[in-house]
Each structure stands twice: as C-alpha cells, then as structure tokens.
C-alpha cells in the first residue's frame, strides 16, 4: 500500500457515524491526496481503552467498553516505535 487519501468528508457526518463525542471539534486534517507513511490520519479508539492506556493497566481493562469513542490523529508509525527494522514489507 503506497498511499492513503486524507479525509475530505464532513466532520459532522463522520462524528455521528463513528459515535465520537458529539461535542468534539473537527480535527485539523486538511484534505490531501498523499500523505507519507509517517503522516497522520484520523483514528477511532474506544474511550475507556484510551484512558486505560498502553501497559499494565490496559491488560486489566474491562473488555466491555463504554459507548463513546475518542477521535484522534495518530502518526502512522510502527506501534512500538523501536522495531522499525523488524521485518516484512507491507
């Protein structure tokens, strides 16, 4: 996969469809035809999972998560950030 297209959709529609916080404001992602693999994209993560965070707490997080989802803009990078040379062409 060589590239992704950034969002050009209406934020109000996205917010409803993804069950984001109704008061959440539009993320600052300008529509673009090209972002690099280390660029940023809109993501959805269940709120309670995000609040638990990564690490030991996340392991104990209740799998029955809340209704809300958090929107966010995450860098597209290797999750651990330290194993960029692990293997595999995707």
């Amino acid at each position: 996969m060589c590239g992704r297209v950034r969002l050009a959709n209406e934020w109000s529609e996205i917010r409803i469809k993804l069950k984001f916080d109704p008061d959440s404001s539009a993320p600052n992602i300008a529509p673009s035809w090209n972002i690099p693999p280390t660029g940023t994209l809109l993501t959805a993560i269940p709120l309670s999972r995000r609040q638990a965070g990564a690490g030991e707490d996340a392991l104990r997080a209740d799998p029955a998560l809340g209704e809300g989802r958090e929107d966010g803009i995450l860098d597209l990078q290797c999750p651990r950030g330290i194993d960029h040379r692990e293997a595999g062409v995707s």
Binding site: P37, T43, R85, V89
Partner: protein
C-alpha cells in the same frame, strides 16, 4: 536488508515483536480515510496512480493497532498506529500484492472491543473486502 514496518501484516500480527503486544492488549483502532492510491508501472520509467475508494462513496475504514511509546530522543510519549494489510482482492491485485483490511461497519464494534469477540473471530476479520465494495475512483 531490513525493511521498514509501517504496516502490519495480518498473517503475522500476533507474532511480530513490533505488533504482538498491542494485539495482546487489545489496542485495536479504526483508521478512516476517503481511500487510498496505488501506483502501477506502465513502462520502464512510468507509473500511473490509481485512487481507490469505497463503491458507495462512504468512508474507507481500515483496521489498525495503536500504541504509546516513549521517544528515546526527547522522552515524550508518542501515540501512533499502524494499518493492517492482507492479501489483495481481485481489484487491488492488479496494482499491488497487499491491501489494507477494510472493515464493514457491522464489524466495527467487535474490532474495537465493544462487543465480545474471540481471537479467532478477530483474526477472521483480517481479510480482504470483496472487490465490489471498492472502486477505482479515477474511473478505471
């Protein structure tokens, strides 16, 4: 030669050190775009871009993993994610040997852990979507 691991291969996601902890912790996310593009060689030095979108013009919602890690350079906490890829469907296979896992809306809650799902069920979601769910936006 080592390769960068910007995307996570569905086939090895539970084993690769870069992704297995995030998988084990259930740090799954959705990554939303309008689509993606791929390049296809049309000659020795020429390549043509192909934009791929959803057939119904809806959001292209991909399966991802997220994590937090400390930047060794400045100590700051960095949040990042990876897109999960799988074998291509008939449309993408003419362009590339991989494609993102595009989730159906009916599976979003399961993927995000809002509905219970076994590991096997979750892995079962990591397949290519039917070719008729996507289209070449450029009109090809």
């Amino acid at each position: 030669m080592a390769f960068s691991t910007f995307n996570a291969r569905a086939e090895s996601i539970t084993e690769k050190p870069a992704f297995r902890d995030a998988w084990r912790r259930g740090q799954r996310c959705l990554v939303m775009t309008d689509g993606l593009y791929e390049w296809r060689k049309t000659g020795v030095a020429d390549k043509q871009p192909f934009a791929i979108g959803m057939a119904d013009d809806s959001l292209m919602t991909m399966a991802g993993l997220w994590d937090e890690w400390r930047d060794p350079l400045n100590g700051e906490i960095v949040r990042s994610c990876t897109i999960i890829t799988t074998e291509p469907n008939d449309l993408i296979s003419t362009l590339h040997d991989r494609m993102p896992v595009i989730l159906d809306e009916a599976d979003w809650s399961k993927w995000l852990g809002e509905e219970p799902a076994s590991d096997a069920e979750l892995k079962g979601l990591l397949i290519s979507c039917p070719a008729d769910r996507i289209k070449n936006v450029a009109g090809g």
